[in-house]
Amino acid sequence: MKISSFIGFLRRSLMHLEYRIAQAASLDRQFAPALAVQGPSLLKPSQSESDECGQSTLLDSILWMAAPKKRRTIEVNRCRRRNEHKLIPVKNNIVPCPECGHLKQKHILCGFCYERVHRETALIRGQIQAMEGGPLKNPAVETVVLYESCRASSVNRDAKTSLSSAPSSSSCIPRPA
């Protein structure tokens, strides 16, 4: 079966080569007028050949593809799937955060503390936006963020714009010690 298909493949490749040589020699048989004798007689076999070509090359390629010989048993499959390198390794770099007590990885910031800081900065930014009132309106002086607890500090308020972090709508954020 394989030998015959190989011979067929050779035959087809020779035909293809012949066609290509004829094309190079500028004998355009494809575009030859219907009255010419040689045209149709050569067109038909080439057409039929091309039709066969399409199907048989597909079948050929299927024959030459790799395929499993036997069904892999569940024991073999389990050996592969449950191998040591496929299991999830146990992490030994999880420590409690000294600030809040939630768990964190040694080389990564604590998620809880980060979220807390993120929310606080969002509030501060909201206040700044409210004070400025629009884009590109930031003042040329330094901005100082004052918390409610340190309102009575000795910061010079005239020179710098200051904002308190306790507007009437939101709750008072305790200053981290």
């Binding site: 799937r81 449950r82 496929k86 299991l87 999830i88 146990v90 992490k91 999880i94 768990l103 990885q105």
Partner: protein, 206 residues
């Protein structure tokens, strides 16, 4: 020891088959569940294990540790992928397991963490567990849920049937410290095997 079975729920189950069907329907959110009740009925065995009541212990007996069974059904995840996470936390204390799952990048880790926290809460509320950290994961495994089938279109007019996979996850928490598993070295295992071969007797010999 043992948990008091909620009386109202049980009576509702045993009263009428219609009530049982509606109860099942409320558990599983799929439309298929109304027609195939066998899969969900078998799956409820795990929750029934929470209802077993042991006879009172004798004064000299060692204290029987509390056991809490919890599960979640029809999780949209693959059972094979879930197995790896279940294997990870087997034998760990609950705090260690929660820590590992929190920093795992897998989708199932979040779900298993929720299940473990629910089970911990159940343990403290219903199963007379004193300290919520004094629990360890005795059993943890995943099972195949009900699959939805869809058509996956290939080229040249061919098609395949795509499975939308679901899985169940089961966990059993036990009170106390986890039992220490002795790690046998490879050399010890080999020595044992050789010793077993040497202990064989030859039958029908002189």
């Amino acid at each position: 020891p043992g948990s008091p079975c909620p009386p109202g729920r049980r009576s509702a189950c045993t009263r009428s088959p219609l009530g049982w069907a509606t109860l099942l329907a409320s558990f599983s959110n799929l439309h298929h569940a109304n027609f195939h009740t066998t899969a969900t009925v078998d799956a409820k065995n795990w929750e029934r294990k929470n209802r077993i009541v042991y006879p009172p212990q004798l004064p000299g007996e060692p204290r029987r540790p509390a056991e809490i069974h919890h599960c979640r059904y029809q999780i949209k995840y693959s059972k094979d992928k879930m197995w790896y996470l279940a294997k990870l936390i087997r034998g760990m204390t609950i705090d260690q397991a929660l820590g590992q799952l929190e920093f795992s990048d897998k989708k199932g880790a979040k779900i298993i963490k929720e299940v473990l926290l629910e089970a911990q809460e159940m343990a403290v509320k219903n199963h007379n567990v004193e300290y919520r950290s004094n629990l360890y994961v005795a059993e943890s495994f995943s099972g195949k849920g009900m699959y939805l089938k869809r058509i996956r279109i290939h080229g040249r007019g061919r098609f395949g049937i795509m499975d939308k996979v679901h899985c169940h996850y089961f966990v059993k928490l036990v009170e106390g410290l986890p039992p220490k598993v002795e790690q046998k070295t490879n050399f010890d295992q080999a020595k044992e095997y050789v010793q077993q071969l040497r202990n064989r007797t030859i039958i029908h010999s002189l």
